[in-house]
């Protein structure tokens, strides 16, 4: 089996990892209650999606 000839230096390893980033969640405001919510998902605050009540939130 093939083996690496050289140890990957810290610099090289870290340079590779510069592209590992956390992505920003795509947030929008709810058209019903105005809270911030994830896009393309029902609003966890009021339970609305696409102008229609999908579920009744607890409390």
């Amino acid at each position: 089996m093939a083996h690496p000839k050289r140890k990957i230096s810290k610099s090289r390893r870290d340079k590779r990892r510069t592209h590992y980033k956390a992505s920003v969640p795509s947030l929008t405001t709810c058209s019903n209650c105005g809270e911030l919510k994830l896009s393309h998902r029902a609003c966890p605050n009021c339970g609305y999606y696409a102008g229609r009540s999908v579920f009744v939130p607890e409390g």
């Binding site: 998902r41 029902a42 999606y49 229609r52 009540s53 999908v54 579920f55 009744v56």
Partner: protein, 214 residues
């Protein structure tokens, strides 16, 4: 390469997967709207939609084809009665998936799977009932407690004012402390009883949710 590989395994064996699909289909026909993980909802679509298409024919043959999967008599009746009627001649696309975000615990993406022709169903009854029940019960209990404490009520105001002082300093009078004891015994009982009932309701709700979850 996963070219032309259909479906998903859902981390289950073939028989386990089939059983899951059957129970999801049964639950959907019974309740018209179920909450599952997004993966299960998407996979269940490919199982449920062809079944409804077959059921639309409403022949003996169609009934036997569906019978293979739907063992629950209530769900079966619901499908060949109400659901078929409501679906009418909709050319496929009987179900809708609405994403709900990730659940706590394993961060699985959750979704609502519902029949398009039953979109008007919203469970608004559940929370309303809860609130009304709790209020009614607490009011009844309060009335009972009030009746018993009527005799003490006259001296209550005086005792309440004196209460913080007596905690800091030593006991000033024997009469006041007796009345305070009577109050402190009653008030915790009043608060504790409704709490216990709330917990019972919550646990029963949780059980219902778990049933829907599969």
């Amino acid at each position: 390469m996963r070219h032309r590989v259909k479906g998903r395994k859902l981390g289950r064996t073939a028989s386990h997967r089939l059983a899951t699909m059957r129970s999801l289909a049964t639950a959907l026909f019974l309740h018209k709207k179920i909450v599952t993980t997004l993966a299960k909802a998407k996979h269940a679509r490919t199982f449920i939609e062809p079944m409804i298409t077959k059921a639309k024919a409403d022949t003996v043959h169609a009934r036997r084809l569906v019978e293979v999967h739907i063992k629950d008599k209530e769900a079966f009746k619901e499908l060949f009665g109400d659901i078929i009627q409501k679906v009418g001649d909709r050319p496929g696309g009987y179900t809708r998936i609405i994403k709900l975000g990730q659940r706590r615990g394993d961060a699985a993406e959750m979704a609502i799977l519902e029949l398009v022709d039953y979109s008007d169903i919203v469970e608004k009854e559940k929370p309303r009932k809860k609130v009304v029940k709790e209020k009614a019960e607490t009011v009844e209990e309060a009335n009972v407690v009030e009746e018993t404490t009527e005799t003490v009520e006259a001296s209550e105001e005086v005792a309440e004012e004196a209460a913080p002082e007596t905690e800091a300093t030593e006991e000033p009078a024997a009469e006041e402390t007796v009345e305070e004891n009577a109050e402190t015994e009653e008030t915790p009982a009043e608060e504790a009883e409704p709490k216990a009932e709330e917990k019972k309701e919550e646990t029963s709700d949780k059980n219902e949710d778990e049933k829907k979850d599969n």
